[in-house]
Amino acid sequence: MRYSVAMSGDTEAVMRDHLLREDGQEDVLIATYVLSTGIERTTAVIRSVILPRDGERHVHGNASFTSAYVLRAAHEARVAGHGLALLHSHPGGHGWQRLSRTDWETESDYERVARSATKMPMLGMTLGGENIAWSARFWFDRTEPTWAESVRSVSPVLAVTWNDELRPVPKITGAQERTVSSWGDRSQGRIARLRVLVVGAGSVGLDVAQRLAATGLITVGVMDYDAVERRNLDRMIGATRLDAALGRAKVDVAARLMKSAATADVIDVRRHEVSITDPVGVSIALDYDVIFSCVDRPWPRAVLNGIAYADLIPVIDGGIALTTFPDGHMRNGIWRTHTLTPGRPCMACIGQLVAGEVSLDKLGLLEDPEYIEGAGREAPSHQNVAALSASVSASLLAQFVSLVAHPGSRGAPAPLHYVLSTHTLMQSDTSCGPYCAYENATRTGDRRTPIAEHRNDWREEVEARKAKRHPLRLRILSSVEYLLQRYTNRLR
């Protein structure tokens, strides 16, 4: 299991303002957390900050907690069902901070208090003041802490401090010269280590996944339980007639294309043939730092909209809608893209997700001609052209760059939409309303509203595909293709 810590940008600002004093002295602070549990990663999501009252801590020389402060906070954490986090600052510290002997003893001393009160491991965190670098460790017992791999602060600006020992900076390769000269080797080192998940490997997702690989990311996941069909070939650039003939899984096609596009020495492409609307898909998603939502139905969108806020994993979503005149020629096209983080509106509040349609989607009625007829609805439009789906992926990727490299220090933009007929790009000034269930569930971690549901239909589809036998000539072609790919990818 890997460990990490996540906090919203607002929470981080409160903690930073307290810990970095004008007089340059060290300070201490206590916070609470909830867990967000993935398959391979457990994240402590900082829930609330418990500021010290007068006399509850000493700040001269080595700052220290009083036991009254720790006991009060432990009680508050227990009542709320949260875990306890002890924080302190190293005002002159640069990068991921280790523990001094005194720090170690303090945290180890309070571990028992924290664990017996909250029944959860104690979290220790340090803020290095020199370049605003956080570090964190989990105390499962008092003898030795387990170090986290990263600490992320999530707002329209995503800032991650990496533990270089657990996730070393990847070597910059010759293929990355142009990339690195655009944002510098430090940014490259931070961005390349992000674990990014692309949900939906259709026209847009496939493009996004390849460009992430070409940017030098060392871990990219793709999630889709669907297979390539002939009718996909006009948009899934890179998918071949052989892929369609063999009905290959979209994630397999994505993985092949990503490996050819990769510029890192080694890329770890994770293929997830699962549905994001199933709890297993959600658990997988919780292992990632950023998620691209390249899906077009309300149910998967609702699930991802939930994760963005509850688990503090930025979700970058987008889509395109084309309309035609009755005589068949093109009327208009609108594409939208938006990054979901605390401080930006959710998909339900900008109208990208009609939550009232989720239950229809769950019943499979959104595509049911009989149902559509009875409801007097318009049939869902599936018009799409390859020449335009690139606009969606381009805009999603630009949001990603703004989120992680923050040119102009501004982070991801407000929701964008482009109207093809009038050539206008617009930025929305909407925010979530006071009763938005998604934003109100920010930082709830594993207590998120359950939107995913166990289903067998997609599992059966995947099983049937795996069991299917193909004609010999296609199998031979497939083996030849595989070998060619393998040797090509080994070229340096």
Binding site: G306, A348, V358, L360, Y371, A375, C432, Y435, T449, P450
Partner: protein
Amino acid sequence: MSEASQQFIADMTAAGASARADGPRILYDVVAVGGALAGQTITTGVSISEVQSWPAVPPHWIHLPASVHFTETNMDETDCAPGYVRHSRDYNYTDTSIRPARAWLSHVRGFISIAIAEAA
């Protein structure tokens, strides 16, 4: 009962439509403000399976007595009490400055108010 279903009952009750569980559904009363049923109190409901993600995902189907008619809707009897059917009606809740239960209630009220007189 799940946390979400309890929350739905609590929210509807707070919005003035006291709600109670009844087998696989939750029932509550609504007064029709217009249409053929104007002034009448109608017992209506939702399937419990549809409020498992409440309030992030609202229900969709509206349970009503089979004697209430509409010009055009999709219907079925899933989770319905005897003598009831459920109707599908598009629900687009994007104004999150309104409480979810109040928004749902006015949606249901609006629907009941377009009911047509029962054919004799």
